[in-house]
Amino acid sequence: MSSATAEKHTFLARGMKMFLIAILAFAGVLFASPAMADTVGDEYENKILGNVKNEGTPLQGVKIIVEGNGYTAEVVTDGDGKWSIGVPEAGSYLITLVEDTLPEGIAVLEGGATQTVEWGFTNTVVWNFFIGEGERNPTSQLDQFFMRVFAGLNFGLLLGLAAIGLSLVFGTTALPNFAHGEMVTMGALFTLFLTLAGVPLLLSFPLAVALSALFGWGLDAAIWAPLRARGVGIVQLMIVSIGLSLTFRYITQAFLGGGTEQLPGALGSPEIPIFRTVSLSVNDLISMGVSLVVLIAFAFWLLRSKMGKATRAVSDNADLAAASGINVDQVIRVVWIMAGGLAGLAGILWAYFRPGLKWDMGEKILLFIFAAGVLGGLGTAFGAFVGAMIVGVLIETSAQFIPSDLKYVGALLVMIIILLFRPQGILGRRERIG
């Protein structure tokens, strides 16, 4: 609307100078001098710590990164070569020594610059890197980048599974489903319960996915369809989805508590070298494989099957679809079943990726599922896939260039910018808007 834009220009003309100065000052303070501490995470009881010494001489200023269970932190060795990172939970972590911060001609000799540590019985884990004179692989930065790309692809694939469901729900019912994160958590939760009940792992997976699909069916049958029939407004529906997200998230917490559980085989998956020093774990490979197979199968269903075509029609234009004889309510029910199943599968893969199952694990990626859907174009399944791949790779590779605990900020900023300037996303169509 030009009137609104022109109004805005009036307002801006009056306050612009003042605000620009304020914003610049704010930004100046923000980016003045990034500081790092010798110890990080002091408030946590659990600590990983160690020494970095070269033949007995402590090395100062060496950067150590710890990642795992959804937590990332960096630290720098102090004058005694000591470092310590507090972590929120006792679990499996990846410790990386950034070799570029070692003095020239020094490298990690044994075991490699990246190590996985498991937790013991106390609340500290000690890890010392074996340093000495050696050839540091000069392209380790590049290898790191490739590792991140693969991690991004893996993450993007599982995001895609969840984002497709979110996107189709939005396309067919105009609802941004803020409870989608909990649908993701359900898949992992069902798997955990099944395995604890003694069901063999390979059977638990499809069963859990089926239960998740049933969960999606149940949500539509019991809640969404009746509300739609009542003609409840979209703002109210959004708030309902928030209420549901709170409900299911805290039910999960009631069952799981605050800690992290692991699905069988999540830890200690053997690494398989791919090329140069890049390696992927067996779990990673299986995860990506499963995602791809399911995505391709889903694409087939969407493109070839009668119900799939009907789904695309409704997502495109519900009124037109209804006028051409498609049973819209039935399609929406199927969409919720699919969304539930796909989200559940995403949850299982997410539990292996982190690794770890936590009560709020779904909520943690909810905004990235949205980012994927928005970037690709809410309402189109293919858009959701494309958006998810971009978001996944963006998040992981951005850690190469910015502090790793800010890598999620980039994806969120991208989502905001897309909503502002091209709300239909990459593959969406303009008419959807406004």
Binding site: M1, S2, S3, A4, T5, A6, E7, H9, T10
Partner: protein
Amino acid sequence: MSGSKPLKRTPQKSTGLHIGDASPGVKKVDPILVADHVSRKFGGLVAVDVEHVEIPRGAITALIGPNGAGKTTLFNLLTGFDKPDTGTWSFSGKDLAGVPAHKVAKMGQVRTFQLTKALGLLTVLENMKLGAKDQTGESLFQSIFPFLWKKQEAEIEERALEILERFKLLKLKDDFAASLSGGQRKLLEMARALMTKPTLVMLDEPMAGVNPALTESLLEHILDLKTEGMTVLFVEHDMHMVRHIADWVIVMAEGRIIAEGPPEDVMKDEAVVDAYLGSHQDVDLGVVTGRITLPKGEK
């Protein structure tokens, strides 16, 4: 269509508004609004393509044309509710292109909407008071101190009650506007527009959806606007209404102005008749509006 309803009084028609022959884009003796090369496309569709148009001051001008002719779009463009692709226009000499809608309204050019926008969640009186300009209490900081605006509010309320009385809505002043009938809401929108003390009142289909009993009263109110020195531009489909009260008629079709003149002359204009009745049924309307030029020899 009902037969012509005689009004209680015979409207004094203004004449001599134009300079030269009455044709599309003719200059006016005293124009209040002058527009040049205004165009707006939606996708591939030309919604508005007006070379030149002038609205005479102090008169009642009707903007007519078949559905889809671009009348409401032209309204939106001239009042700042839509951005044109090209075009400049000025209101009482002040350049208006690109000026936001609220500023246009502040300058004295106020409009109503095809789908009435009576604010249902406010009472009739609140609707009226909202229309007043320059109420200091509407500024954020001053609003917290009632003593700064209480007196103004009382004055505004007085004026509002006066206008409501004239529009026969006084009894309903404390009712929520949502509870009014469609016709009453139209009256409310017009009454509210008067609160802004406008110079040019632009009414978008004021008769649409109004039951015939109220039509006369609406017409009277529009005539009153002229008596009080305001200029009126209205979009309408009801030809009887147009014939009765309009001093000047502008006819649009397919985004262009195809005829201008006093009502009786315009009604007889062949191009206009074609636009409405399509007597040249075998020929595209575009031939009439000049959008399509036929090769020589074809009709």
